[in-house]
């Protein structure tokens, strides 16, 4: 077990290095931060001085090695746009993004799994058809459009929920949370629904098709033949066996949720990392982009590891290390 975790962590090192190299190489194409920093009026001498100050006149690999050295010391540098340490900025924005992403993921799971089970069990009921139709909308509408529609209905027309921002937040150490104030919770609803809707429909459809599959298998028939109540057959036997793919997808989708949060955060002016990243791109703020991409890569590596560990918990075949002797 420990050896497994260690080997996965070792494998992560080349992944992280590659990501840093690729993202760093891309910065040559995002534009010139110097022009933006200098504004409308400057002389050529001022421009050259700034280029030198920022080290942008150095060869690519010199810049990259210097960057890596600093990162290893935990120093991501100063944001060009905001003039503040990148690490501070990311730590400030991280709670907002994580609260939003986890709420969205929870929403997707808590609503998506029961809906999937229901539509799997009662394939032809009108409610199932309704769920499936709604889920089609969830899958096919782009995130920003859903966000704008929700704002239009719940903020502009009904006036129930705020259209932007995070509401009042409470600081707990360096972590800020919006979950402890009424305005913070109200502000979280629309972005979380927007962000979670796609994942929710995905999970629902996945659970549904897995349920349909599993319900056809022999051991379910035997379970029914033994006279077990439906509740135990459906949730104890059937649902449990649909969970492996659901966990994989949900885990990987959590990474996607954090990445997709860029769009949702922009629509709702949610002060998270995605908004920070988008604004960094618009301003060619290289230190922030580099730190963000590395952080997202790290996040995916960690999520993958956790997903692998969850397999152990859910799938007894992996736990006992035995090869495919299926079922019980």
């Amino acid at each position: 077990m420990l050896a497994f975790i260690l080997s996965r962590l070792l494998q992560a090192i080349p992944v992280m290095l590659t990501v840093s190299l690729i993202s760093f190489a891309m910065f040559a194409y995002v534009g010139d931060p110097v022009t933006i920093m200098l504004g409308q009026d400057y002389t050529e001498a001022q421009r050259e001085a700034l280029v030198r100050e920022l080290g942008l006149d150095q060869p690519f690999f010199v810049q990259f090695v210097e960057f890596l050295e600093n990162v290893l010391r935990g120093d991501f540098g100063l944001s060009y746009r905001l003039g503040r340490p990148v690490a501070d900025l990311i730590l400030e924005r991280l709670p907002a993004t994580l609260e939003l992403a986890l709420t969205a993921a929870l929403l997707a799971l808590l609503v998506g799994v029961p809906m999937g089970v229901y539509t799997g069990l009662y394939r032809d009921s009108w409610l199932s058809r309704l769920f499936l139709t709604v889920s089609l909308i969830g899958v096919s509408l782009p995130t920003f459009l859903i966000g704008i529609l929700l704002i239009l209905v719940f903020a502009v027309i009904l006036g129930w929920l705020p259209s932007f921002g995070r509401g009042e937040t409470v600081a707990i150490g360096w972590w800020t949370t919006g979950l402890l104030t009424w305005s913070g919770i109200k502000a979280l609803i629309l972005p979380a629904v927007t962000l979670g809707l796609y994942q929710m429909t995905l999970i629902m459809r996945l659970v549904r098709s897995e349920m349909l599959e599993v319900l056809r298998t022999d051991y379910i028939k035997f379970a029914r033949a033994r006279g077990l109540p439906d509740r135990i057959v459906h949730f104890g036997h059937a649902l449990k066996n649909t969970l492996v793919p659901v966990i994989t997808i949900t885990g990987l989708q959590l990474g996607a949720i954090i990445a997709f949060a860029i769009v949702t955060e922009t629509v709702f002016q949610w002060p998270g990392m995605g908004l920070l990243f988008i604004q960094a791109v618009a301003n060619a703020d290289i230190p922030i982009m580099a730190a963000y991409l590395i952080l997202v890569a790290l996040l995916f590596v960690v999520i993958n590891l956790i997903v692998d560990l969850l397999y152990y918990a859910v799938d007894p075949r992996l736990r006992s290390g035995l090869a495919a002797t299926s079922g019980r």
Partner: protein
Amino acid sequence: MRTRALAAAAALALAVPYTSAEARTLRWSAAGDPNTMDPHSQNLGTVTKILNQIYEPLILRTRDLGLEPGLATAWRQLEPTRWRFELRRGVKFHNGNDFTADDVVFSIERALAPTSNFGIFVDTVQSAVKVDDFTVDVVTKIPDPILPNKLASVYIMDREWSEANNVRQPQNTRAREETHTVRNTNGTGPFRLTIREPDVRTVMVRNDQWWGWNVPGNDSNITEIVYRPIASDATRVAALLSGEVDFVLDPPLQDLERLKRAPNISVLEGPEVRTLFFAMDVKRDELLYSNVKGRNPFKDLRVRQALYHAIDIEAIRTRVMRGQAIVTGTLFPPQVNGYTKEWDKRLPFDPARARALLAEAGFPQGFEVTLDCPNNRYINDEQICQAVAAMWTRVGVNTRLNAMPLAQFFPKIQREDTSIYLLGWGVPTLDALYSIQSLLATKDGRPGNGIWNYGNYSNPRMDALTETIKNESDPEKRNAAIAEAMRLYHEDVPHIPLHHQMIPWAMRANITIPHMANNQPYMRWARVN
């Protein structure tokens, strides 16, 4: 019943801040957040729109962008290179420190520092000299008749506070630590910064000690300003419609009609001091991005005139800009000193004439060219370029459009890696010299000359006029030189002018904020009714 009770309760909760005499909050939004609070680091509208509420220059702008006493009560030119400023007495900074001549000398020197972005406003300044505690002389390298106009953009900081917080120089980007001024201020202005959370909110409260509250006209009743940026256009409009914000500085054009129809929303429309034009490479012997080999069509006046005649400017004004543009034939709008109506006339839209001119110039079949254009800098910039590219193509100049974000666009034109490009030019000094010197003077290495002249237009007469405008202190002779330069501009067609931008502001109907052509709201005049 229950929902109605809830709604009533909510309405009551919302209404409280307005009915109370103590707290009148103005909730303000725009797309961009200021990236610093340092008064001399970033000469950008997004920064100065906040700093203008907190800091003050020696000289303030009036509602029509004229000059009026600020921290200086009087100023005069003692000799051609020496201006004297009498300072206001009894003014205090927000931290309680007294305002004196030392602060003025310090601030002007700070604006002159290499990391300052406000150098253009002190470009002629040799030194600032304290005469006594409330008198300062500014000595210039050359006679500078428009120095007061420029100093109306230089904020005054507290020397003692700056030295205590190690911010003698504007923020340095290479520094490894955050500069104190990035999030902290100490001005003398009508509002005081209390909360600064970048990209989230900036809160300012009324400075009851401000000297200017006694001056007639400064009749703001606002006690608190909460600025929250909203980057997404649609969300910003929604927040205004739903009553979550009171004032949007930059409503998107496509939503203007809807906002005008909405009850409780008023839209103020007015011109901005910014002019859009196309500039061309008129120096190279062969264009970089064209199929014409061995010669540069833009060197031929007739080709430049042809492209000018080919533009249906009314279509751009009404369709692309939805009426939010003032068509022009000159380089700067009427608010700028030196403007003459006489030279603000366009070559008429005349495609037949355009084809004839092209044929005369030796291009009866036209030619190909690439137009470089930003897509996130000016109002509807990419759409303007699309429309114009089609118009040029129609008269035979096959135009490929290369639209890109400003982060790529500006470096490209600054490398002079372009054949023809769109530029929009604002005039913060409100004097024609700023435009003529930066855009039309030959890039001869003299400070400021031709620094944005990437098409390398060069005419010795224009250069001579530029020097006259720089040095002449008789306003009449100086304005005659500016008019002459604009006549030459009209004749030479170094640019193809388009329009001055209009800048609509949108606000709740109970708010009054005077519209300003520099796109800067001054909250000392704002009221919540």
